[in-house]
Symmetry: C2
Subunit: 187 residues, 2 copies
DNA sequence: ACCGTCTTTTGACATATATCAAAGGAAACT
DNA sequence: AGTTTCCTTTGATATATGTCAAAAGACGGT
């Protein structure tokens, strides 16, 4: 639980009351590799803070499996559009490694938002951080070559190369597995 | 001002007090075509609600002018990373048509966030809507062809074709002007 | 109405990446 | 250890899009 609050601490300093209220809704989960947190086409009812482990968000497009996002220790896994709109979305979430997660349900979070201004602020800041992340990834996809994108990814999270199958990294970068294999072959 | 509050009303129903506090910080601006709301490399100190007119957010990459976002009547123009982080960013904002805008400064907004839980909530919901928009655009860039992206854009906002130069639409779609011209030539 | 500037189209060619196919390796299960 | 399944590499070819260049067209100011 400390790792979760350390993460939260990057965004806001909670008072005792709201901190305890938030702690009270956290659900610990210990799950095996391959476990599905959300099936494609379902509604994302919770977000997951990853204390230990690795997840990916993915979807199927024309029969191909596309990795949309990879979440590592100390970050959050969620199907964001579904979580925010409460509508089904094509994205699913699965564990790439046995993982220890803290779960927060949408309904609990809504209740906390209404009751605690501080937590509403936390929500705003988490969303803001999400926009920044997504915008930066968007810029990369828009105007960096596949080669540059791969270099940036391994610079940011070197361990992924050994933890995530090549095909998943490739679709995350917006290229095919074959192309990534060739990029890799030239350093 | 009504158009601004109509927009806000999509997200949250403000009480009288917070509504008046928000109204009090709105600054109307009437500006000519070509006016620069933010110079590339500057810090985005405000966001702009467009009551009438058209803006684009852009940046320079390797000497090329890239249109990052186009904002039309009834939406918001802002350089989001700079606005949120208070850091300089490569993006600038300019008017593509003479426009009537409502400006909200970052510092006013921060004060309102702290004072009114309702406005903090509004901020959270605006950020959430921003993530959804950006994610959908990201998905398109990732896995729709240039042809599909162009069709979607004109389906969503047909008037843009006549209001925005081709080169700007092309870079917004992530392709060159020549490619877009050719796409257009085949319907 | 004219001139200069900005915008769009068209052409020839180059290149990055995709697709299809098959073989080689590595990991997992019994 | 052996077998199945998954993962990665390599090859040949196809395709979408980019780049460079120049002409044609539209627009705005005087």
């Amino acid at each position: 639980m400390d790792s979760f609050f350390a993460y939260i601490g990057n965004f806001v300093r909670l008072g005792d009351e709201s901190r305890e209220a938030l702690a009270a809704v956290l659900q610990p989960m210990n799950l095996p590799k391959g476990h599905s947190l959300l099936r494609p086409g379902g509604i994302c009812q919770s977000f997951y803070f990853i204390e230990k482990g690795l997840t990916r968000t993915y979807y199927l497009k024309d029969g191909k499996d596309i990795t949309d996002w990879i979440s590592t220790e100390g970050s959050i896994a969620v199907s964001i559009i579904s979580f925010l709109t409460h509508q089904p979305d094509i994205r699913g979430i699965e564990l790439l490694e046995p993982s220890f997660l803290w779960t927060v349900s949408h309904s609990d979070l809504e209740r906390l938002y209404s009751r605690y201004h501080e937590i509403e602020r936390l929500g705003r800041l988490l969303m803001s951080a999400g926009i920044i992340q997504l915008q930066q990834r968007f810029d990369d996809l828009h105007f960096a070559t596949a080669h540059e994108r791969y270099r940036k990814l391994i610079a940011a999270t070197p361990s992924l190369v050994n933890r995530v199958p090549l095909g998943m990294i490739a679709s995350y970068l917006g290229i095919t597995q074959e192309t990534l294999s060739r990029i890799r072959a030239q350093f």
